[in-house]
Symmetry: C3
C-alpha cells in the first residue's frame, strides 16, 4: 500500500538515528527495494519513497548508498549557521554563545577516514547505479549536512580554517536524470555537491557555504540549472564548477566570497551565466577555460574587493591582478551588460604598480564583449575581527573613494577576431585593432554625434 512508501527515520525499527543515521537510511532503502522486487513481478511501477528527518542531530558513521530512483530525502530545516565565525571566536566569548553548531534536520558527517581513502569514501550520500535507465528523480530537500570540523593542511592556518577534511555531502558517481537538490544547507565539507554526468539536474534555492567546494559538475552533462542559491566556497576551491556541460543555466545566484573562483567552466559550451550577483576577494572570479565556447555571460554584478576578516588576511588564490576578473579561453562567447566593481588598495596590487585587468580574452576567437561597465575604486584596506561587520563595512563604503585606473578589457594575441564595444575608453582597453573590432566607450566631449 502506498502509505508504506513514507518513512520517518525516528520511528524506523532498525538502527539508532542519533548514533548512526547511515545505518537507518541503508536499512530503509533495503526495505524499499525489497518491496519493489515483489511489485515488479507483475510489471507495475516502482514509485520510490520519501524518507523524512524531523529537526534533530543525526550522526552519520556509515555512508548511505542510494541506488534506487524516485527517492526523496526530506527534512524540516536547512540549519545553516556560521561555523567559521564560531571557530574564530575568542576563548572568553565562547562560553557566552547561545549555540555552537548548525541545526535544523542536521546530519553530522562522522565517517572514519584514512589519508589514502578515495574521495568518494568520505561522502555522506553516495549515489550510484550501473545499467539502464539512469537513476532518475532523486530529491534532497531541506536538511543540513555538516562536516563538523576542518583539519590541518600543513600550513600555519588554524585547522578549522583550512577548508579540507576529506568529507563530501552528496556524491553522485554516474549518469543521472532529473535530480533535484532544493532548500538544503551544507557547511564545513571539503566538497558539498560532487555530481558526475548530470542531465536535467536542478540545484535550486540552497544554502551552500563554508565548504571547500560548493557545486562541482564533473564528467559531462546537459540541460541543467543552478538557480537562486546562496553559495560561498573556501579559498582553495570553486563555488560553482562545471566541465563538459552544454546548456547549463547558472542564474539568480548570490555567490559570496571566498572561493578561488565564483564560477569556473572547463570545456563548457552553449551555457549561460546570467543575472547573478558575484563577489570575490581574488582575481579569476569567473573563468571560462579549455575552449569554453558560445556561452552567454550577461547582466551579472561582479564585485572584486579584498578580504577584510582578520583570520584570513594574507590568504588568497595565488593569482595576480593581471590575470583578469573574468578570463576567457574559448570562442564565440557573449559578454554583455555586466557591471564590474574592482575595489582594492593600490598597495596590495600585484605585480606592484600594475593596472588590474578586468575582462581578459586569453585564447580563442570571435568573442563579443559589449556594454560592460567597469568601476575601479582605490581604497585604504581595513580589516576587522567580526566577519560580517567587517564585510558589511567594506561593502557599504563608497563615499570617500578615489578612482583606480584599470584595464577594462585586455585581448591577448592568441585571441583574435573578437568584437569589443562600449566596454572601456581608448585608454582602458588593450586590443590589437588589426585583428579585432573595437569601439571605445565615448567620453565627455567626444560625442559621436
Amino acid at each position: 500500500m502506498s502509505s508504506g512508501n513514507y518513512y520517518n527515520v525516528t520511528t524506523w525499527p532498525v538502527g539508532n538515528p542519533a548514533e548512526d543515521i547511515g545505518e537507518v537510511f541503508n536499512s530503509i532503502i533495503a526495505d524499499v527495494k525489497r518491496r519493489q522486487a515483489v511489485t515488479n513481478e507483475n510489471m507495475g511501477g516502482k514509485p520510490g519513497a520519501v524518507i523524512y528527518l524531523p529537526p534533530g542531530d543525526y550522526r552519520l558513521r556509515t555512508q548511505v548508498l542510494i541506488d534506487v530512483s524516485f527517492l526523496r530525502i526530506e527534512g524540516s530545516g536547512h540549519g545553516f549557521t556560521s561555523s567559521s565565525i564560531r571557530f574564530n571566536v575568542s576563548e572568553d566569548e565562547l562560553s557566552g554563545l547561545h549555540e555552537l553548531w548548525p541545526g535544523g534536520s542536521r546530519i553530522l558527517v562522522d565517517i572514519p577516514l584514512n589519508e589514502d581513502d578515495d574521495e568518494s569514501t568520505g561522502a555522506a550520500f553516495y549515489v550510484e547505479r550501473s545499467g539502464s535507465p539512469r537513476l532518475s528523480s532523486i530529491e534532497f530537500s531541506n536538511f543540513c549536512i555538516d562536516g563538523l570540523h576542518f583539519t590541518p593542511d600543513g600550513s600555519e592556518l588554524d585547522p578549522e580554517n583550512t577548508y579540507v577534511n576529506g568529507k563530501t555531502g552528496i556524491y553522485i558517481a554516474n549518469a543521472n536524470d532529473s535530480f533535484r537538490i532544493n532548500g538544503m544547507g551544507f557547511v564545513y565539507l571539503e566538497h558539498a555537491l560532487t555530481i558526475y554526468d548530470a542531465d536535467a539536474l536542478s540545484i535550486h534555492d540552497n544554502f551552500i557555504a563554508e565548504c571547500g567546494n560548493c557545486i562541482e559538475l564533473r564528467g559531462w552533462g546537459q540541460a541543467s540549472k543552478i538557480t537562486d542559491n546562496l553559495i560561498g566556497a573556501g579559498f582553495k576551491g570553486h563555488s560553482i564548477y562545471a566541465e563538459n556541460h552544454g546548456g547549463l543555466l547558472v542564474t539568480a545566484n548570490n555567490v559570496f566570497p571566498r572561493g578561488a573562483s565564483s564560477v569556473h567552466f572547463s570545456g563548457v559550451t552553449r551555457s549561460s551565466i546570467t543575472n547573478n550577483r558575484l563577489h570575490s576577494f581574488y582575481p579569476g572570479m569567473v573563468v571560462l577555460a579549455a575552449n569554453s565556447s558560445e556561452n552567454l555571460v550577461a547582466s551579472n554584478h561582479f564585485l572584486r574587493d579584498r578580504e577584510p576578516w582578520t583570520p584570513f588576511i594574507g590568504v588568497d588564490n595565488g593569482l595576480d591582478d593581471l590575470y583578469g576578473v573574468l578570463c576567457i579561453s574559448g570562442s564565440n562567447n557573449s559578454i554583455i551588460g555586466n557591471h564590474f566593481s574592482e575595489v582594492v588598495d593600490v598597495h596590495h596590487i600585484r605585480p606592484a604598480g600594475a593596472k588590474p585587468v578586468i575582462i581578459r580574452l586569453i585564447q580563442g576567437s570571435s568573442n563579443f564583449v559589449s556594454t560592460n561597465h567597469v568601476v575601479g575604486v582605490a581604497i585604504q584596506a581595513k580589516s576587522g575581527g567580526s566577519a560580517f561587520e567587517a564585510q558589511v563595512d567594506a561593502l557599504l563604503t563608497t563615499e570617500t573613494l578615489e578612482a583606480l585606473p584599470v584595464t577594462t578589457v585586455k585581448v591577448d594575441s592568441e585571441s583574435v577576431r573578437n568584437t569589443i564595444l562600449d566596454s572601456g575608453s581608448d585608454t582602458d582597453v588593450v586590443v590589437d585593432t588589426a585583428v579585432n573590432a573595437f569601439r571605445a566607450t565615448p567620453t565627455a566631449g567626444s560625442s559621436l554625434l
Copy 2:
C-alpha cells in the same frame, strides 16, 4: 477543528486510491465543502485543505473536479523519468531495465476517452467555478502526472512518439487568482497545463517534459510568472504558449527540445522573456505573433541545432530556415543582449542554399534590436541511438567547426521604424535604412574611433 483540513489519500475511507484516485479526491473535496457550508453559517473563513499523496502509483479513472479555493494537493516526488527513451529501447535491452515507469507520487491518467470528446474531458484535474470571487490560491505541489502512452496519429511514427493521446494534466477552465504550480512532474500528456484567464499565477520549479504541449496560458491574463522550470514539448506543440497576457514574466527557464516553439506569444503585451536558456531543433523558436507589443526579450541564450536522436530524425515543425529563429509581428518590442547559436548542416538548410535568418521582424513598427550576438556554425550532422548521449555529443562539439553565413536580422517591408544596433555587420543585416535606423556591428579594421 483545523487538523480536519489535512487529508491523506491512502487513509481516506471512500474509494481505492490505487484503483481510482479520482474518486478519492472527489470524495475528499465533497467533504471539504460539506464542512465549509457549516462554518459559513457564522460567516467564518473557508480555509480550504491539503490533500497528501505519499509516493505511490495511483491510477486515475475519474476526473477530479476542483471548485473550492485554497486547496493544496501535495506529493513527495515529481517522479520524472524518460518514457520516451524507454519506449524507444530495443526489445533485447528492455528486459534488463531497472524500471519502466515514472515514479514518485504518481498519478496514472487512465480516463476512458472517445474520439469526439472535448479536450477538457481528458484532463486529470479540471478546475472550474462560476460566480465571484474567482477561485484563489489552489496549489499543486511535488507530484507526478503521467499520461502513460501516446497513440497513433495517422503517420508512420511509432505511436509512442506521436505526442498525442487526448490527455491533459491540469485544465483550469475559467478566471483564477494566485494559483501556484510548484515542483510538479508532467510526462506523456498531450497537454500538461492548460490554464484560462490567469491572474498572478506562479508556475515555478517544475519538470514538464515529453508532453505534446507543456504550458498553455489561454484566454487572457496578467501579472503571472513562469520561472525556473525545466521544460520540453513535442514537435507538434509549444513548450510555453500565452495569448492576450500582459505583464507575464518568463525567466530562468531551461527549455529543451523538441517543441515546435520554445515560447510562442500571441497578442501578448508588456511582458518579459528574459534570462532563459532555450534550445530547439527548428526555426520559429520564439515567436511574438498577432501584434505582441512592448515586450522585452533579453539576456536569453538561444541554441538552434538539429535533432540528433534516431527515432525523430526527419521530424520537424514544417518551417524553413528563412522563417527566423526569433520572429516578431508587433511593435515597440525590445530585443536586447541575447546570444544566438545556429548550428546546422548546410545540406539540411531549406530552401537549399539559403542563408538562415536569425531575428526576423515581420510586421509592426518601432522595435528596438540591440547588442545581440549571433554565431553561425556549420556542422556535419550526426545522430545516435541514445537520446542523451547523442544530445550531449552535439552540444559539446565546438572545436572543429566552420562558420556558417547567416542573416542575423531581417526586417520585412511591413515592419517599419525599427532600430537595429550592433546585431550584425553590414552584410549580415537585411534592412531598409530609409525607414529603419541601423548601426552595424563594427568589424576588425573598421574601428569607429
Copy 3:
C-alpha cells in the same frame, strides 16, 4: 528524541489555536528551549524544531516571540485572495460571494493596539535575540498572515482602502543570518516583512500583496536575495525597500501596482535589480537614493501607466511626471538593457504640458546608462469597477495608440561624468555633453555607417 522536534499547533496541549495561536506558538517555543537547555549541558547541538499549521483559521491575539535559531514554521497554503476586491464589492453582490476571506494555513492578526504603540507591537511574529551568535536559519514557509482590515486614515477613503492598520506580519528586530521566507502569503497588513540587519537572507517565491509595505530591509545588511516573488504594495508604501545593504540581489520578481515605489534603495551599494517585471501607476517607480552606488539595474521591464480601478482613481504618490520613472542619486551605477513603457493620458500629465521624464540622474557621477528602450504611448484613460478586468484591459490595449513624447534620459547638473549611450535620440535626451558622454540612438536615415 528527534521526533520530539516536530510540533503541530492543533495537537499541542496548551492554548486554543483557533482562539489564540500566539499563545500556542509561545508555549511550543518555551518547550523547545526547555528541552535545548537540557541538551546543552553536554555541549550537544540545538537543532531547533518545526511547527506545523494545517490549513485552518487561527486567530492571533498574542504576539509570538521567537528567540531560538533553526525554528521552522510551516503551513500548507499561502491562502491569498483579494480582500481589496471583496471590500469594494457592492452590497448586493456581497451575499453571492463564494467566500469572503483569505484561506490556507491562515493567521488572523488580531492584536489589540493603541494609537501610540510602537510599530513592533502590532507584529504577529517578533524575532529578537541579543548576544552571539545572531539568530540563524529561522524559516517561514507556506502559510498566510492576514491583517483582516485597514482602518481610517483621516482621509475620505473607505477605511478598507487606506493600507494602514498598525499591523506587521513578521518583524525581525536585530542582526540575523541565513533566514528564509518561502511560499508565504501576506495580505492586508500595514507592513508585511520588516527586517533589520539581514545577512544572507532569502525571500523567495512569496505572494505579498495588498499590504501597505511589502518588504522592508532596514538598518544594514549584505549578501541577501529577494527573488521570484509576486509583490504589490499600497500607494503609501514600498513594494521593496532596502537601506544600507550591499550585495543584495533583487531578481525575477513580478511587482504589480500600486506601491508608491516598486523598488526603493537608500544608501544601497553593489547590488542588483535585474530581470524583474515592474508595474506602477506613478512616477518614482524605482528610486536609488542617498548615494546608492555601483548598482546594476538591467534587463527589467518597467511599465508605468495609470490606475484604472474606480475606488482608487485620483489616489497617487504625490510625484509629478518630471520626477522620473527611474531616479538615481548616486554614482557608478549601471543602467543597461531595460525596457520602459510610459502609457498615460496627456490630460493627466503634471505639470500640464510637460514631457514626462523616464530615467533621471539627479545627483552623483559616473553612472553608465546604455541600451535602454523607452516607449511613450498616449492613451484615453478609462476606468472600471472590476479590479482585474480593468487592469487586464489596460494592459492589453496597444493597438490604437499614439506616440507620447517623453524625455528618455534627463541628467541634472548635479550629476556629472555620466555616460549615456543608445538610450534615446538627440531630442529625447537632456544632457550637458560638456561634462557627460553621450551617444544618441540613431534614427532612420542617420545610419552611422
